[in-house]
């Protein structure tokens, strides 16, 4: 009854002219979507009608590797924003196509195929977990797409599994072992290695066994611990005997578990304690607390302003990264090597694309040739320092930082120049 007035003649204009009908919703909705498609994105306004380079990136945004994947994306986004702000690459903007590999090699393979076939990316910068990098390497090679590996440390990526399209602009285990072994053998001659029992941990273990031996030391035992083992005590309890130091090769929360439980069992007091810098990344330090005091490690990046890292461009990069990281974590972590290597990998790609005048995937071979032997100079693009992508195996050798941790901070004790970490190439593309 209350609605009767709508049917009267005098009310027709008022009611029907403004009535929201399904037809109108569809009409206005379609118009709005069309308008949104036509409105230029901010970068399109800056670059006119230039088509963006589509850079794919596979990152673990969920699952076991998600914590590192989140910081890796910060580095990548920082580089992309900076490139676009400074005029893009060859006058064209960069658009990131980030996919979540869910920390699973099987999912990663599917997503890689999607990036190649459906998204039609121009190049790839990414890869965090070594088993995923290894699983996806053949896809990039078959599709003839540049793969700038940005975190994976497995040795074989640039040795037995090397291919013409994959590049690594940061270090790998043999180079770190060359740099660190002299310090380790000064600390003690006999070592026991506890390692994450998967591709990266195993290849890193092998590198340290070889180089500790080369420097007059000896690895008297090794203990492999599966990834994600929540209680390492049954493994660590078995570590005993006559040796000088315990060397750990872990990353992420496994690093927290190792340090906490080795400390609780008295191992870090009984033996000298050293290891891969991934254990003491800034995202782990809060949880480990003072249990890591005295830990000696090697890393390609530590968030300090000491030695060669006390530069204006590193200060600027550090501040921006810290600000961005605070947005994804309220505790405000310091930048880590995952932020650094993603940032630098995309910048290296940019230089290669500019040098080769890369336009489409048809120019990939020219890009390969431009990246081979490319010198990356320390500066705003490469705040970590100088490095060269070796032509023979596409492996770079950056400077390494040997440091100790105490009181929740890093103390740089030695910088090893990249040239002193070089190991002979295991494959040779230039032949």
């Amino acid at each position: 009854m209350t609605e009767k007035w709508k049917e009267e003649k005098w009310a027709e204009d008022i009611w029907y002219s403004g009535k929201v009908t399904r037809r109108r919703v569809i009409g206005w909705g379609g118009g709005a979507i069309g308008a949104m498609m036509l409105v230029p994105a901010p970068w399109r306004a800056a670059f006119g009608a230039e088509k963006a380079y589509k850079i794919g990136s596979e990152q673990p945004l969920s699952g076991a590797g998600a914590a590192g994947g989140k910081t890796a994306v910060v580095g990548l986004q920082m580089a992309a924003d900076r490139i676009n702000k400074n005029g893009g690459i060859n006058g064209r903007p960069v658009e990131l196509d980030i996919v979540d590999d869910e920390s699973s090699p099987a999912v990663a393979r599917q997503k890689t195929e999607k990036l190649v076939q459906e998204d039609n990316i121009d190049a790839h910068v990414g890869g965090f977990l070594s088993n995923i990098c290894l699983a996806c390497m053949p896809v990039w090679e078959d599709a003839k797409i540049i793969n700038m590996i940005s975190v994976c440390l497995d040795t074989t990526l640039t040795t037995t599994h090397c291919n013409r399209y994959s590049f690594r602009t940061y270090d790998y285990a043999p180079a770190q072992a060359v740099a660190f072994a002299p310090t380790l053998t000064k600390m003690g001659k006999k070592w026991h290695i506890a390692f994450a029992d998967y591709s990266w941990g195993q290849s890193t273990r092998d590198a340290y066994i070889a180089h500790i031996k080369e420097n007059g030391g000896e690895v008297v035992g090794t203990t492999g611990i599966p990834l994600g083992t929540p209680d390492m005590t049954p493994f660590l309890s078995k570590i005993s005997g006559d040796f000088d130091g315990l060397f750990g090769i872990f990353f992420g929360k496994d690093g927290v578990t190792l340090v906490t439980q080795a400390y609780d069992l008295g191992l870090t007091k009984k033996y000298k304690f050293a290891g891969d810098g991934s254990i003491s990344e800034s995202t782990n330090l809060i949880a480990i607390g003072n249990k890591i005091d005295g830990f000696t490690a090697i890393n390609r990046y530590i968030p300090v302003f000491q030695g060669p890292l006390d530069t204006p461009y590193h200060h600027a990069w550090f501040n921006e990264a810290k600000e961005r990281l605070a947005k994804i974590d309220p505790s405000g972590p310091l930048p880590d090597k995952y932020v650094q290597s993603n940032f630098e990998a995309l910048n290296a790609l940019k230089i290669g694309m500019e040098k080769s005048k890369f336009q489409t995937r048809a120019d990939t071979m020219k890009l390969v040739e431009a990246l081979e032997g490319l010198e990356l100079k320390a500066g705003p693009d490469f705040p970590q320092g100088d490095k060269t992508i070796r032509k023979e195996d596409h492996q770079a050798f950056p400077q390494e930082f040997i440091f100790t941790v105490s009181g929740g901070t890093y103390h740089l004790i030695e910088t090893v120049p990249g040239a002193k970490t070089v190991v002979p190439p295991a494959c040779n593309f230039s032949a």
Binding site: S237, K253, T257, T260, P330, P333
Partner: protein
Amino acid sequence: MGALGQFFHAIPFDLIIIQTVNGIVTGMILALIASGLTLIFGIMDVVNFAHGELFMLGAYIGFVVFVTTGSFWLALIGASLIVAILGAAMQIVALRPLIGRDPLNTILATFGISLVLQNYALWQFGPVVRKIPEPISSQFTLFYLQYPWYRILITVLSAAIIGGFWLYLKYGKLGVWIRATAQDRVMAQAMGIPVPWVYTGVFAIGAAMAAASGVLFAPMVGVSHTMGLDWVLKAFIVVVVGGMGNLAGSIVAAIFISLLEAYATIWVDPSQAVIVSFVVLILTLLFRPTGLFVATPR
């Protein structure tokens, strides 16, 4: 000396005692997690894939309470209560509408909840691993090791929580209702027991037990969004080996499997020792599919 004498001489007794202690400690933590899981299955027929995330959520809430109050014990109690309330809400909203439907529905629902909770934790707390310090940090000498008293405390507390729950199940009003519902839910409802609320209560208790174990375990590994994943697989193995829904069976299976793994590390490479639990699982499924501690119907 005979072959037997040589064999006994070769057994490293110090390592056996150390691994026995390790096995019991790990087993009790696992038992606390698995008891919540088996309780929920036994009463509700729900395979709770979100149990690991309730464990993780308990640790995160414990961390927040610890930062606010500075008390580990308040963190333990607060996290258990808050997660119990969240668990009850989760059961009412997501699982109660699925009662009576195909079990696959509840599996998918709890799996979905686990993904939501895991990604929520990563979004809310970020990638940095958090710390809840242990309430006691002293150690005692166990042969060549310094063994933390905190691990012994965890064992005692886990046993106390499980024991307290068992007593409540036996003598408490809700406990009697739970047992009645487990025996015959139709008859229980006919006798006036509010079965849907019993379900909610059971889910809340299971969630609280997961949260308590999360807080207890956090000082040993830190708090991260994936910490539940590492335990829940093993908890499922324990529940299957102990007999789905059999509380006592799960506790015995947790200690049994943990001891087996710990002993295996003495003779085989520790990374191969974890295979032991899978071997036990396969053998159980082959020869006693209802669980080691439940009679197999013939």
